[in-house]
């Protein structure tokens, strides 16, 4: 739902259009996966649904824009620096505000981060209005290749592959490494993990930074496709919430698969019944809730 552009290939026929929409779906799915993954990681540690996630995704895109236009720093560095800068911003938010919500009802976290989202989006809207700023595709990823059955713009292929790699790396980090084991243990029982001498508050801060960094990374990836707009994350985050409700936040892999799958379904809807492409994720959410209220992979909340 974030963009409707279809790449024009030679002799764009009906199947061409279908493949093109599938690719668009995969790209949106990449963003859903990166964002819902971040939400799940943050929820696991902080018990907060980060409403500011969409605003921080937008910040990622803007930081990339500033780096290029003010500092002359290219896309590749932005891909590394923007998540770090926005991640640090997120960690400051955690240290100065979210930290104080420990022990309160979960809903306060939602309200606080909603407020943060309003502030961030409002500030950017004041300076940049509501229109989009262009961000050029880096030279190395310009052009496309003919795959025989379709024309693939290289940048779009790159977004899908790179997002998938980042998602899997995050999954590996959390499920397979020592650090991830600490993290999962702290999610289950923070007091006990502290007793083992592990600095849990610092881990919480870093986890929030990681989740926010993933959102910012998605923002950088989307900048050349969707343009850079202050409200680019505002509607997206609501779709991602629906994705999270469908997939449940119990499993990292579940978030990744659900994200990509819903993107593809949305892409197919755009081809077969475009009128419903804005709503299909929400309709699916309703269906899942009616059939399996706990979500596809989730535990009861």
């Amino acid at each position: 739902m974030t963009f409707r552009g279809t790449p024009k290939g030679p002799g764009a026929g009906s199947m061409q259009a279908l493949y093109a929409q599938l690719l668009v779906g995969l790209i949106n799915g990449s963003f859903y996966a990166l964002l819902s993954l971040g939400l799940a990681v943050i929820f696991g540690m902080l018990n907060i649904i980060n409403f500011a996630h969409g605003a921080l995704y937008m910040m990622g895109a803007f930081v990339a824009y500033f780096l290029l236009n003010l500092g002359g720093i290219n896309y590749w560095w932005a891909l590394l620096l923007a998540p770090i800068i926005v991640g640090i911003f997120g960690m400051i938010l955690e240290r100065t505000m979210l930290k104080f919500l420990t022990g309160l009802d979960h809903l306060y976290g939602l309200l606080l981060t909603f407020g943060i989202a309003l502030i961030v989006q409002g500030v950017f809207q004041n300076y940049f209005g509501s229109s989009g700023l262009p961000y050029a595709i880096p030279d190395q990823l310009k052009g496309g290749m003919n795959l025989g059955f379709m024309f693939l713009p290289i940048y779009r292929g790159w977004v899908v592959v790179f997002s998938l790699v980042v998602c899997l790396a995050t999954w590996f980090l959390i499920e397979k490494t020592q650090l991830g084991a600490y993290l999962r243990a702290a999610t289950e029982n923070p007091t006990l993990v502290r007793a083992f001498g592990i600095n849990v508050p610092r881990m919480i801060t870093l986890t929030y930074g990681l989740g926010v960094g993933l959102a910012a990374l998605a923002g950088v990836l989307s900048a050349p496709i969707n343009q850079v707009r202050p409200l680019m994350g505002a509607d997206l985050i609501i779709v991602v919430f629906a994705v999270v409700v469908i997939g449940g936040m119990g499993s990292i892999m579940g978030s990744i698969i659900t994200g990509f799958a819903l993107g593809v379904i949305e892409g197919l809807t755009k081809y077969f019944y475009p009128e419903a492409s804005n709503t299909v994720v929400f309709v699916l959410m309703v269906l899942v809730l009616l059939v399996k209220p706990t979500g596809l992979t989730g535990r009861a909340a």
Partner: protein
């Protein structure tokens, strides 16, 4: 985990009497507005939002359910009333009825879906459902998309009350607000309301006591949604239009903000909150998007340092429930 509200005082006859006294003072103050020279349009608008916030508060303050999609009831009732008044040329009282019935039907459907999950999932589901409706209304022909339904005739209520006269309209809106408010007040102090509060405090215990908590939550949801719809129908007469802003998620956020500022789970808090936020929007209208920034800052401030809200703090100070 601490609960959302600080309301641990029981609804004793004395507490109810105190609340009734405050209610009468509020009603008298509001009834005297047309004689004070205060801009009645502003107060009418605030009253509609106050009723909406009170309906929302019924769910969060007494049922512990944070709906992030209450704009869908406001907007749906608004659109349906507006359509009934303008296209079907129904009289005002039937126009309101159409809107309220629409909100009632919508709250049955959305309530059935959303109370399947609790806590933040409930909030996310209500938000997603209202976004679904937003897109439907964006495309549906009868809402006129981005333009909205404009120039809605106000008509004569019951054939005698000419709603195009500001003073008459004001008192009609006031009576509607007070009726809705009293109904919510009655619900909160009913046995049903007591069970609802027990679910908010400890759902597992309420279940073990034999209450079918899902049915209570569902009924609370339907009551809240229908009353929110009533607020939306009244608002049509004040604003004389129905547009997409009323269904947008930012509207749902504003309702949450009003209730938070006034005090979650307090009876009079949402009214105070609605007046504060509407007044703020009125005075800061020239500052563009800074209003959003200020609203966000109020959210942050309230959550971090002012969780009881205006009325909650006053009630806490006097050790009364208000």
């Amino acid at each position: 985990m601490t609960t959302l509200t600080d309301d641990t005082l029981p609804a004793t006859p004395r507490a109810v009497r105190d609340e009734m006294i405050v209610f009468v003072i509020m009603a008298l103050l509001l009834a005297s507005v047309p004689f004070t020279g205060v801009y009645p349009f502003f107060v009418m608008q605030a009253l509609c939002f106050a009723l909406l916030a009170c309906a929302f508060n019924l769910l969060i303050g007494y049922g512990g359910l944070l709906s992030f999609g209450h704009a869908m009831f406001l907007g749906t009732a608004g659109y349906c009333s507006a359509h009934a008044l303008k296209v079907w040329a129904l009289p005002p009282e039937l126009g309101i009825l159409v809107g309220v019935v629409a909100a009632f039907g919508l709250s049955i459907i959305t309530g059935y879906i959303s109370i399947r999950r609790q806590g933040i999932y409930f909030s996310m589901i209500t938000l997603a459902l209202s976004q679904l409706l937003y897109f439907i209304y964006l495309q549906a022909p009868f809402t006129h998309g981005e333009d909205g339904i404009q120039g809605i005739p106000q008509g004569r209520m019951f054939g005698v009350l000419d709603l195009s006269k500001p003073t008459i309209l004001y008192y009609v809106v006031l009576v509607g607000f007070l009726a809705g408010f009293l109904l919510i007040f009655r619900i909160i102090n009913s046995p049903f309301g007591e069970v609802l509060k027990s679910i908010r405090e400890n759902e597992q215990r309420a279940i073990s006591l034999g209450y079918r908590t899902d049915q209570y939550k569902f009924l609370a949801f339907v009551l809240s949604g229908t009353l929110a719809g009533f607020a939306g129908s009244l608002k049509v007469f004040v604003a004389q239009n129905a547009s997409l802003t009323d269904v947008h998620w930012s509207m749902s956020g504003e309702v949450v903000l009003m209730t938070l500022v006034g005090g979650l789970g307090t009876i009079f808090g949402p009214v105070v909150g609605a007046f504060v936020i509407i007044a703020m929007q009125q005075y800061l209208a020239g500052f563009g998007q800074w209003v959003t920034v200020i609203q966000g800052s109020i959210f942050v401030f309230c959550v971090l340092a002012f969780r009881r809200g205006v009325i909650g703090e006053i009630a806490h100070y006097f050790r009364r429930s208000l």
